[in-house]
């Protein structure tokens, strides 16, 4: 793809993503012409009504990190298939952005879980980190942490790309696993709000559902922007390394 087209996509995704995020923030906290601001104050089954507004941010962050890991997975397979270093920069850029989004999803999920899942006789943090879906996501996060770390410690480019591709493919397995685990295990505390197998007790209104989709759009666009930005930096790094080597 031509460089000016990529630059247009890079900036377009930023401005569209920021616009979607601005509408989302507005609709989360204030009434809009399309509906009233979601408010769970006084709901008997909601322990923390303000933290519950993370419903419009936490799932979208997780989704965007999964999209990033999917890019890493696809590019890693392409690298192992063709042994062409051209595929390495998109893979490592997506992994870096996916790791950030995954970290933010874990932080927000932990804070939300501490508020909502407290059980008597067990610490809130222990409840969160013994939840099967959270455990799967933590393992995936650790695999991508290893992916990014090993890139720093292996000097030879082809060996580094090969090892990283193996970790990228392995790490991505956490995405389908985390999708399945809360749907298959009856004891899972983690609700699934949308998609097949969503919990009936996690049902939300049509307006709230619209906001969940808007948040998915906003964070996907922001992921595209960050990925293309990181990719540009990765290509500059490769160019400098090539010049220093020659």
């Amino acid at each position: 793809m031509r460089e000016d087209t990529v630059a247009r996509i890079r900036w377009g995704s930023l401005w569209l993503g920021l616009a979607a995020l601005a509408v989302l923030v507005w609709a989360t906290w204030w009434d809009t012409p399309w509906g009233r601001a979601p408010d769970w104050t006084g709901a008997t089954d909601v322990a923390a009504p303000m933290t519950r507004k993370l419903l419009f941010y936490h799932p979208a962050l997780a989704w965007a990190s999964f999209a990033a890991y999917l890019v890493t997975f696809a590019m890693s397979i392409a690298y192992l298939n063709e042994r062409d270093l051209r595929h390495d920069a998109p893979a490592r850029s997506a992994a870096a952005v996916g790791f950030l989004l995954n970290t933010l999803a874990l932080v927000t999920g932990t804070l939300w879980g501490i508020q909502e899942w407290s059980r008597s006789g067990q610490s809130a943090l222990a409840t969160v980190y013994t939840e099967p879906k959270v455990l799967v996501v933590v393992v995936m996060w650790l695999t991508f942490a290893a992916y990014l770390l090993l890139r720093r410690f292996v000097d030879e480019p082809a060996r580094r790309a090969r090892l990283a591709a193996a970790f990228g493919i392995l790490g991505f397995l956490g995405v389908p696993a985390s999708w399945l685990v809360s749907r298959l295990l009856a004891k899972s505390l983690h609700p699934d709000v949308v998609g097949p197998g969503a919990n009936p007790d996690a049902a939300i209104s049509a307006y709230e559902g619209g906001l969940v989709w808007l948040s998915a759009l906003a964070f996907t666009l922001l992921f595209v922007h960050l990925w293309l930005m990181r990719l540009r930096l990765a290509r500059l790094e490769d160019r400098l390394a090539g010049q220093e080597a020659s």
Binding site: L54, L61, L100, L104, L111, W112, I114, L233, L236, L240
Partner: protein, 62 residues
């Protein structure tokens, strides 16, 4: 930790995390472009042919 503090922490981490990463990449890209530009400027000029040699072709120096 109460509900308001948890919500504030969570939302602050989202926006600070995204903005911080964006800024970090932007600064790193500018730094890299400067380094590549400097290398380009200090690299020896490629041979441009006898007529453009500032010292003149062999045998023509005064």
């Amino acid at each position: 930790m109460d509900d308001a503090t948890t919500a504030t922490l969570a939302f602050a981490s989202i926006f600070a995390g995204l903005a911080g990463y964006w800024l970090r990449i932007r600064l790193a890209t500018s730094r890299m472009e400067r380094r590549l530009g400097r290398r380009h400027e200090t690299a020896p000029a490629p041979p441009t042919g006898k007529g453009k040699n500032p010292e003149g072709p062999e045998g023509t120096r005064e």
